[in-house]
């Protein structure tokens, strides 16, 4: 067997689809993940355009519609899920609350991922004191109660969206830091990194050109999962009253506000809770799919269209 002929089986022919199309095809192969992606797309659209279109409707109080029951199809569509304690249409409020909920989670995930990854790369590459000190930092953050941090920030600064992002971002840094560090420790021993050293590559070049692209898929997969976690954490904080404060609104806060009316109007808490659970479920499904799609050794499962979900 001569090595001069390209391995035909593993060569991509010139007419092969581009990477994006290939990704979409792999997504299509996993039906639950496709549904999840579509649902998330809907949530993102709500978050972006919801406040613009429905803000006036969502904040208009209507005493006759107080705690109106759901599924009354004679009402305008925004009332189909019923009204809240002030008669505001629940569906419209859920759509507009998506904006804050998503903004907080996105901000917190991006910030913690950037900082955590940077620290993790430094900790993984540095053999010196820095490499020892950074993981300690992660330990401290991990054992610092996030509730206390939230309260501190709330007292020192005001409970704005930006500050909630700050609290959540700090608490999630260790996740990325540890993952990035562990991955760097493994990847740095690989032969292609050694080859780069032999060529005389500088440290930034090795870290950003050779190591980061290899560990990025793992980090993105974790970030998707973490997005769900951050949403849950934000809603828990808001539920406890140390997160977002009215008149701002998030799904978690809506659940808390509806709690006194549970026996009379269960929908007030139920629908925003359902929105949370569906969004986090979608994120989990998508993360599961990404774990396979971004792993060259597992990708075939999606490309054969046979067994799903590995």
């Amino acid at each position: 067997m001569s090595d001069l002929h390209p391995v035909s089986g593993s060569r991509r022919d010139p007419g092969a689809p581009g990477p994006l199309l290939r990704l979409l095809k792999m997504l299509w192969a996993d039906k639950p993940a496709t549904c999840a992606a579509l649902f998330l797309l809907l949530v993102v659209l709500c978050a972006v355009f919801g406040p613009m279109l429905l803000d006036a409707v969502a904040s208009k109080q209507n005493l006759r519609g107080r705690n109106a029951p759901p599924f009354d199809l004679s009402q305008p569509w925004v009332m189909w899920l019923g009204g809240d304690q002030l008669g505001r249409p629940l569906l419209a409020r859920i759509v507009t609350a998506a904006s804050n909920t998503m903004a907080i989670a996105t901000g917190a995930v991006l910030a913690s991922m950037t900082i955590g990854t940077a620290l993790g790369l430094a900790a993984g590459w540095s053999r010196g004191r820095l490499g020892q000190a950074i993981p300690r930092l992660a330990d401290v953050i991990m054992s610092f109660p996030s509730l206390l941090l939230a309260v501190i920030v709330l007292y020192m600064l005001e409970p704005s969206v930006g500050n909630i992002i700050l609290v959540l971002a700090i608490t999630r840094i260790p996740v990325y830091l540890r993952t990035a560090r562990a991955e760097v420790l493994e990847v740095r021993e690989r032969m292609f990194v050694q080859a780069a050293i032999v060529m005389g590559a500088s440290v930034p070049r090795i870290v950003f050109r050779h190591i980061l692209p290899v560990i990025l898929p793992t980090l993105v997969t974790i970030a998707t999962l973490d997005f769900a976690f951050v949403m849950l954490a934000e809603s828990a904080l808001s539920f406890l009253g140390i997160g977002i404060q009215p008149p701002e609104v998030t799904w978690g806060l809506m659940v808390a506000q509806g709690r006194p009316y549970l026996t009379t109007a269960w929908g007030l808490s139920f629908w925003p809770g359902l929105a949370i659970i569906l969004t986090t479920l979608s994120l989990n499904l998508l993360s599961n799919w990404m774990r396979i799609a971004l792993d060259p050794a597992q990708r075939w499962r999606l490309e054969t269209g046979g067994k799903k979900n590995g």
């Binding site: 090595d3 490309e303 046979g306």
Partner: protein, 626 residues
């Protein structure tokens, strides 16, 4: 030949993969009778181990499926048996041992328990199994069986682990033993011992033995009959001697021709002026000394081969030279400057001059970069070699030079075969226009034929670029017709150095002779003569001597810092001091200068990677299990 015990008729196995169905084996038939040794010979991807996996029901279905054929054991088609019925055959009537025993032994159970389990699974009471286990361990040459049974697989050396696998497989005296590349990741001296043990046990129990291998030398050493496979088909079958002497199929002919160590030895020239000179270089990892102050020189345009078994320190010298690790002592003078004491700036400039080609191109090429990026990266790091506007043209030039073509430039490494990848790695090294290239086991992960082609390329580049090579290898035949000088290392010391001619034809040291003797020749007749010679020499010893542990294993590293099988993992810090390999009886009689060397290709360090299609389904998924 008696009635076949195990017979495969017209077997076809297909795996469904991302790129459509892959026909791993097509209409394959072979059989083996009691007391017979059959070898299935093939290169990677030939499908050589698929049929035996089918015998033991080890093929995952899906993605695999059996399209045609039957497997007859004692005349019954086992493909028609129930799962439970087949399980009763496995381990009791038909047993199997694998390549890379470290990953095939369960890391979390004691080895005694694992040997017992074979018997307990088939109904032997636990207490009886325990006693039998100790007897078996002693039989396969494990010292102090009672203590060994309580240990875990990582506490044994590679050769001992294979002995443990053998004990496990033979516990119930199976009628057929299938051995899948049983010696591939082992040092040559250990390989000889394991093959000896298998042969002895086979003679004693009269079982049928099926050996799956890529190595003509193994066939020559042990097999009576051989089946040659290529691309899922049997291309040739017959007695081992007949197939070697008179190959019918072009594939077999090419395979035999590619066996290294048979060409002309390079003429001895006047020693050239040294470019690089190591003086008393040592390296310690904690209490363990990997290099005991070695000194050698590399001449201008010279090829220096460094040969040694695992733990000999041969790769450590390369890593020190390239400053991948810091030396504990000594100097390395390059153009009068000490490499080990260079300030960063000078070191950076020096990197251009000394480049390296690594063992496994799959790992040494960044999977996310294109060939163009891989080759041109050095020019971004060292501005001034090639102007940016000429990068494309120069990459194309380099690709042509290493035997690839220009259009390969925009592909990624995974789109190439192993040999092509190594060519890319060589082009990358050449891009910096170095004066010295260090090849660390650069061909040992490649198939024999590809190995020969890559060595040919290296030889051509040596002539056209005036390069000097440090060529590190673990067995001697590979370097015989390529190197100028050879340096034999053992346990961190240089045992012997000299010209190729002197090392191969008049080795002075016992260890060098042992290494040469342990290498297997592809010619069954040569092997037969050498076996006879070995027996004569061992004649005085009691018959069980062959199965007794070799000295190297008596002092097994019981260190908890497990040393992984020698498959390219480089973690010298975790390596326990490697006991000196034994000089087996020197018996290099009757060797005339100029005849072919009694050594044969041995190509260890191939996949210790997971091989089932489920865990490693990429590229050539199922074929990888071959």
């Amino acid at each position: 030949m008696a009635d076949p015990l195990l017979e495969i008729r017209d077997l076809s196995v297909t795996f469904d993969t991302a790129r459509g169905p892959v026909h791993a084996v097509k209409h394959v038939s072979w059989s083996v009778g009691p007391g017979e040794v059959l070898a299935i010979l093939g290169e990677s991807g030939s499908g050589k181990s698929v049929s035996s996996s089918a015998v033991l029901d080890l093929i995952d279905m899906p993605p695999g499926r059996i399209d045609s054929g039957e497997i007859l054991f004692e005349g019954r088609n086992i493909l028609e048996m129930s799962k439970a019925e087949r399980r009763r055959l496995n381990g009791r009537r038909i047993a199997m041992i694998f390549q890379d025993p470290l990953s095939h032994l369960n890391p979390v159970w004691t080895v005694g328990w694992q040997v017992e389990e074979t018997m307990v699974l088939h109904g032997t009471p636990r207490a009886e199994a325990k006693a039998e286990t100790l007897r078996l361990l002693a039989k396969v040459g494990i010292p102090d069986p009672a203590a060994a049974a309580e240990k875990y697989p990582h506490q044994f050396s590679g050769g001992q682990r294979q002995r443990l696998m053998i004990a496990m497989a033979l516990a119930l005296k199976p009628d057929v033993l299938i051995a899948d590349e049983p010696t591939t990741a082992l040092d040559v001296t250990v390989q000889a011992q394991i093959l000896g043990l298998l042969e002895e046990l086979q003679k004693e129990t009269g079982m049928a033995l099926v050996i799956i291998t890529h190595d003509l030398g193994v066939v020559a050493e042990i097999a009576q009959r051989v089946v040659v496979m290529s691309k899922g088909e049997i291309v040739e079958a017959g007695s081992a001697a007949e197939v070697y002497r008179n190959p019918q199929h072009p594939y077999t002919r090419r395979l035999i021709a590619a066996a290294p160590g048979k060409g002309e030895i390079r003429a001895e020239a006047e020693p050239p002026a040294p470019v690089l000179s190591l003086q008393n270089v040592s390296k310690k990892y904690g209490a363990f000394t990997a290099l005991h102050g070695i000194s050698y020189q590399l001449g201008e345009g010279e090829t220096l081969a460094i040969v040694g078994e695992s733990g000999s320190g041969k790769s450590t010298t390369a890593r020190l030279l390239l400053r991948l690790e810091e030396a504990s002592g000594g100097r390395a003078l390059y153009r009068g400057r000490d490499l080990f004491a260079m300030p960063p700036k000078e070191l950076h400039a020096m990197r251009r001059d000394i480049q390296m080609v690594f063992q496994d191109p799959t790992q040494s090429l960044n999977p996310r970069m294109t060939v163009f990026q891989l080759i041109s990266e050095g020019w971004a790091i060292h501005p001034g070699i090639v102007e940016k506007s000429r990068w494309k043209a120069r990459v194309a030039e380099l690709l042509r030079e290493v035997g690839l073509s220009e259009e390969h430039m925009h592909r990624h490494p995974h789109q190439f075969s192993g040999g092509q990848r190594q060519r890319i790695a060589i082009a990358r090294a050449l891009a910096l226009e170095p004066r010295i290239i260090v090849c660390d086991e650069a061909v040992s992960a490649l198939d024999v034929q590809v190995q020969a082609q890559v060595i040919e390329l290296l030889a051509r580049l040596r002539a056209s670029h005036g390069l000097s090579y440090i060529f590190i290898a673990h067995d001697l035949p590979v370097v015989r017709d390529f190197a100028d000088r050879v340096l034999v290392m053992q346990g961190g010391r240089i045992v012997e150095q000299g010209s190729v001619q002197q090392i191969f034809e008049a080795p002075r040291e016992a260890y060098t002779r042992a290494l040469l003797a342990a290498s297997l020749d592809p010619d069954p007749e040569v092997q037969a003569r050498r076996r006879a010679a070995r027996k004569r020499e061992a004649g005085a010893a009691p018959p069980s001597a062959a199965s007794a542990p070799a000295p190297s294993h008596r002092s097994a590293p019981a260190s908890p810092a497990a040393r992984p099988a020698r498959c390219g993992r480089r973690n010298p810090a975790a390596a326990p001091p490697h006991p000196p390999a034994p000089p087996p009886p020197a018996h290099r009689r009757g060797r005339r200068p100029g005849t072919r060397s009694p050594a044969a290709p041995c190509r260890p360090r191939r996949g210790s990677a997971p091989r089932s299609p489920r865990s490693r389904p990429s590229a050539t998924a199922p074929a990888a299990s071959a």
